[in-house]
């Protein structure tokens, strides 16, 4: 197959590495080949999970066929390169929705399994892998195997959250959820500081199927951690006016056509934006109806929004702190951040439910904080190492799909089920053929 040698990066545009890209168009051409390879879907992981420096990267963007849809039970089987956006286009008009969706719909189905992604409903519904009924995997010896929670469960739970390191995910069967309307009923609650924000997220009376909090990451002092909790659920048919239940008008999209100069996003401009956003969104006291696109995928409306951060890119840091220590832990993270000279321009806080069965899955019972920090100088990596320490002290972990710089030691401390996972990986891929820049950085597969 023809290869294209070029420099690519993840969504955070750091690091940039030279890889040999292959882009099969036939399902039968999804094959591991003879040396190191990693699969890349839409390239929406932030760091180096879908990079393979000087090695092969298999693109699945053209292996994106919907194969089977059971409209009665809501069971969909599709090829791994299919994006959630393509799936939503088909299922929403039929009254179905994804059981779990991350903050962008431009991700591949295979990527959702490999990173075992979570959404704003993790505290109720678990992560993506919980809703996957089966996979077709292409292993290192080129054999095709089916696995599911009942068939080859070890392999299945090593692949869910396994960052593509157990084999090529070829097909995914997933169970969808019923919709009565395409609209969301959203209730927003403004909080003047972190204490109040945290209490809103904890309050069972204010909780909803989906819940997420935006934090004004540049607010300091008494305003530290002020933000807005956004709770919502799929509107029931009696909650929407007349018969426009599944009526959808796609929002007009915008695009960032080129890299903006790095100085455009600075503490002042973002601070001004955050204040306005806080006032505007915080003023919405009553529940309102919203398009599902605007609720789940606000950033998808701006194509290439990662260019806003300039050519040097940014790092997204997402960690989870277990329930018992989450308030103290996240408070410390925010303090450390506001005390540093590295402003984070976006901070999102979510509640997570119990840990799933995926051996390398990120979620665990507690609260997760996600930060977007532009890369301006080396200082950022010093700061992030400090954040790692705080996370470790509180028994938490960092999300691999967002990561570009975690150390191998920290990784092992954060993921206690790694050894169990490695035994399965070594059994199906003894030569460590499925490897990526991330797996080498974390010294996965090396003995």
């Amino acid at each position: 197959m023809a290869t294209l040698i070029t420099s690519i990066s993840g969504w955070g545009r750091y690091p940039v590495q030279s890889c040999e890209l292959e882009r099969p168009e036939r399902y039968a051409d999804l094959r591991p080949g003879a040396d190191s390879v990693i699969v890349r879907g839409q390239g929406r992981s932030y760091g180096d999970a879908a990079l393979n420096q000087n090695g092969r990267v298999l693109l699945t963007e053209r292996i994106n066929r919907l194969l089977e849809f059971d409209m009665v039970n809501g069971i969909l089987r599709a090829e791994a390169g299919t994006t959630l956006a393509e799936i939503l286009d088909v299922i929403v008009p039929m009254g179905w929705f994804l059981p779990v969706t991350p903050g962008t719909k431009f991700v591949s189905l295979g990527g959702c399994v490999a990173a075992d992604v979570h959404g704003k409903n993790h505290h109720h519904d678990g992560s993506f892998g919980e809703h996957v009924l089966g996979l077709e995997l292409i292993l290192a010896d080129d054999s095709r195997v089916r696995c599911s929670p009942s068939e080859k469960p070890d392999l299945f739970w090593a692949t869910v959250g396994g960052m593509g390191l157990t084999g090529i995910i070829g097909e995914v069967t997933v169970r969808l959820v019923r919709l009565q309307s395409a609209l969301m009923k959203v209730h927003q609650h403004a909080a003047v500081n972190f204490d109040q924000l945290f209490r809103i997220l904890q309050d069972p009376d204010l909780d909803d199927r989906y819940a997420v909090a935006w934090i004004d990451s540049l607010a300091t002092g008494k305003d530290l951690g002020r933000g807005i909790a956004m709770c919502g659920h799929h509107a029931a048919s009696e909650e929407v006016p007349d018969n426009s239940h599944l009526d959808l008008k796609p929002a007009r999209g915008h695009s960032v056509p080129f890299d903006l100069p790095a100085w455009i996003l600075n503490s002042r401009s973002i601070s001004a934006f955050n204040s306005r956003y806080y006032k505007k969104e915080g003023g919405k006291r009553y529940p309102f109806l919203s398009n599902y696109d605007t609720y789940f995928y606000p950033l998808d409306a701006i194509a290439h929004w990662n260019r806003l951060y300039g050519k040097r890119g940014f790092v997204q840091y997402q960690c989870v702190i277990p329930e018992a220590t989450s308030f103290a832990g996240i408070h410390r993270l925010l303090e450390e951040l506001s005390g540093s000279r590295q402003p984070s321009f976006l901070a999102v806080l979510k509640r997570l439910g119990p840990q799933g069965r995926g051996l390398l899955s990120f979620p665990m019972s507690g609260y997760t904080l996600a930060l977007d920090i532009p890369i301006r100088n080396k200082g950022i990596f010093v700061l992030l190492n400090k954040l790692d320490e705080i996370v470790l002290q509180h028994g938490g972990r960092v999300y691999l799909a967002k990561d570009a710089r975690l150390s191998a030691e920290s990784f092992r401390a954060m993921y206690p089920r790694f050894k169990e996972w490695l035994a399965i990986k070594n059994a199906v891929d003894p030569q460590n053929r499925f490897s990526s820049s991330l797996s080498r950085r974390l010294e996965i597969g090396m003995i």
């Binding site: 023809a2 294209l4 168009e25 036939r26 399902y27 039968a28 919907l66 089977e68 849809f69 088909v90």
Partner: protein, 265 residues
């Protein structure tokens, strides 16, 4: 690889005008990226499809995908362009499955590589799939449409067929022959009201061109597919895709041979 800036989003945003399912289209070589995009553009209008290619597993996948995304009727069957003796039977099977066939898109082709220039046995495959196979199946299609006084035949040729160049003249010659064949067919079928459209794409982002050096202004298959379907609503007989290739080829065709033979193209 530089991309033609309008080739992606531009056409995709256009909504097809809803009209009753009118066409029933046979797509030959349906597993290529251009054919898949063309099939999707037909399906988006609600047309019925018959997909044909050598690879049955791929056909099943593409057919299932088009049915789910667009809710249209999609048939498929195995077809080998080089096995010309099977074409008559194959075409009968298509008519049996889809008695109201209204059009054909010929989308198969084989680019091959430089080896074709020096190794005829290899080059023959290029000629057989791009020209001989095409001439064979198109004769059955033309004989079917001619007495019905309706129908269309869209042949996907290539800008490479407009002038022979040292870098790929075996492919160019086969595609050039196909262009001439379509031209003659158009002349023959004009009195019967059967439209024959020759499509000449430039560089398209497909498996055929992936990773090739020196490509410029590369169009997406989706853009090409939608333009092909839209060509039915227009009157042009020969279309270049994207449109500016008409002018690039106009210049290339008009370079005098004494100069052209010295050039490295």
């Amino acid at each position: 690889m530089k991309r033609f800036p309008f080739a992606d989003g531009f056409a995709l945003k256009r909504k097809f005008v809803e009209k009753p399912a009118s066409e029933a289209v046979l797509i030959l070589g349906a597993t290529s990226a251009i054919a898949r995009a063309t099939a999707a553009a037909f399906a988006a209008r609600g047309d019925v499809l018959y997909l044909a290619s050598r690879d049955e597993d791929e056909l099943r996948r593409i057919a299932a995908d088009l049915r789910l995304r667009y809710g249209v009727e999609v048939h498929y069957g195995v077809f080998d362009a080089e096995a010309t003796d099977t074409h008559e039977l194959f075409f009968k099977a298509v008519i049996a499955a889809m008695p109201k066939l209204t059009g054909v898109v010929l989308a198969f082709g084989y680019l091959g590589d430089q080896k074709a220039a020096t190794d005829f046995n290899y080059g023959k495959k290029i000629i057989d799939s791009n020209y001989t196979g095409a001439a064979s199946i198109l004769s059955h299609c033309a004989n079917y449409f001619e007495p019905l006084l309706r129908g269309f035949i869209i042949g996907i040729s290539s800008v490479a067929g407009d002038r022979g160049r040292q870098s790929n003249y075996v492919y160019g010659a086969a595609k050039g022959a196909l262009s001439l064949y379509l031209q003659g067919l158009r002349n023959r079928l004009y009195p019967s009201g059967v439209r024959v459209i020759t499509v000449k794409p430039g560089f398209v982002d497909t498996a055929m061109t992936y990773g090739l050096p020196g490509l410029f202004l590369v169009a997406s298959p989706q853009y090409i597919g939608e333009c092909i379907v839209r060509s039915l609503d227009k009157s042009a007989d020969v279309i270049y895709l994207p449109w500016f290739w008409r002018y690039i080829m106009l210049i290339i065709k008009h370079i005098p041979e004494p100069i052209f033979k010295r050039m490295k193209l």
